[in-house]
Symmetry: C2
Subunit: 141 residues, 2 copies
DNA sequence: CTAAATGAAACACTTTTTGTTACAATATTG
DNA sequence: CAATATTGTAACAAAAAGTGTTTCATTTAG
């Protein structure tokens, strides 16, 4: 398991933005250019995140002219904690030093930090999972 | 308030390592060189973190020959959630894009994310605050 | 005075993250 | 079938964040 405690990238904000737009435009195919316009980033950045969301089963996309993407799940089944884990999959664990193994404390430190970080991660994900994409999206006017 | 969800730096791990060493060597002044040896990093990196811990009142240091630093508080008064906030003070809020203000969704997004991130941060800090430096330090053999 | 330590600034280096270009593949429309 | 609009992806460039290092002034003990 991994733990990310500092949101040092924009991926969670980007992913949730994409999903809200798709939820607000159900029954339509939305292009990455349109999403990029709302997010104010490059369309390729959007497509990168779309790939992750698609592979996780949250959305599906259609290639070619008149293509675009749409939600592939009910919005109330998409939980924000799961989304958080998804976009931070690779580097979830809090970063650790490589302490001196000759030091009695240093030797044990990373195992202790792992325990601490894992507990924190579980709590955080559980907390975020109390809210679904639907809850979040419905809070918009 | 701020929220950091991904631990993309080593500062929390470094700060907690320093504090555990000081707790395990109470009644002694520990040099940044000694700490750096245990952490396996440059002494200046240690002194940078020591400055933050000192200004927060957790430790005090003595200059000059035979100098060093020591805990300035009881270890059970130092809560890990507070420590987490301290080392991530500047960039705690999850990072956000700068969405297009002409988009009805984009316009509202960052306020909504702030609410979400603040709630998550509070929960995370509360969870970490269940553990003090003493609890953590005592778990070492 | 000398030695050992902190304090702090400045800069270099590395890693992470984001932005951009380019182009192949695919599907729709006429 | 040709033209067009779109996704998908790779490769690279640029920017930002984080860490490492050098340097030196200051302080204190002996």
């Amino acid at each position: 398991m991994y733990l990310c405690l500092i949101m040092s990238n924009l991926r969670f904000a980007t992913a949730i933005h994409i999903l809200v737009l798709l939820d607000k435009n159900r029954n339509e195919l939305i292009t990455s250019d349109f999403i990029a316009g709302s997010l104010n980033v490059h369309p390729v950045v959007v497509r990168r995140e779309i790939k992750v969301l698609r592979e996780a089963g949250y959305i599906e996309s259609k290639k070619g002219k008149e293509g675009g993407c749409a939600l592939a799940m009910e919005a109330n089944k998409i939980l924000l904690g799961d989304l958080y884990k998804l976009v931070n999959k690779e580097n979830m664990l809090g970063r650790k030093n490589r302490p001196n193994p000759d030091c009695a404390i240093g030797r044990q430190m990373n195992n202790k930090l792992d325990v601490l970080f894992n507990k924190a991660e579980e709590g955080l994900v559980a907390l975020l999972n109390k809210q679904s994409l639907k809850d979040f999206s419905d809070s918009f006017e």
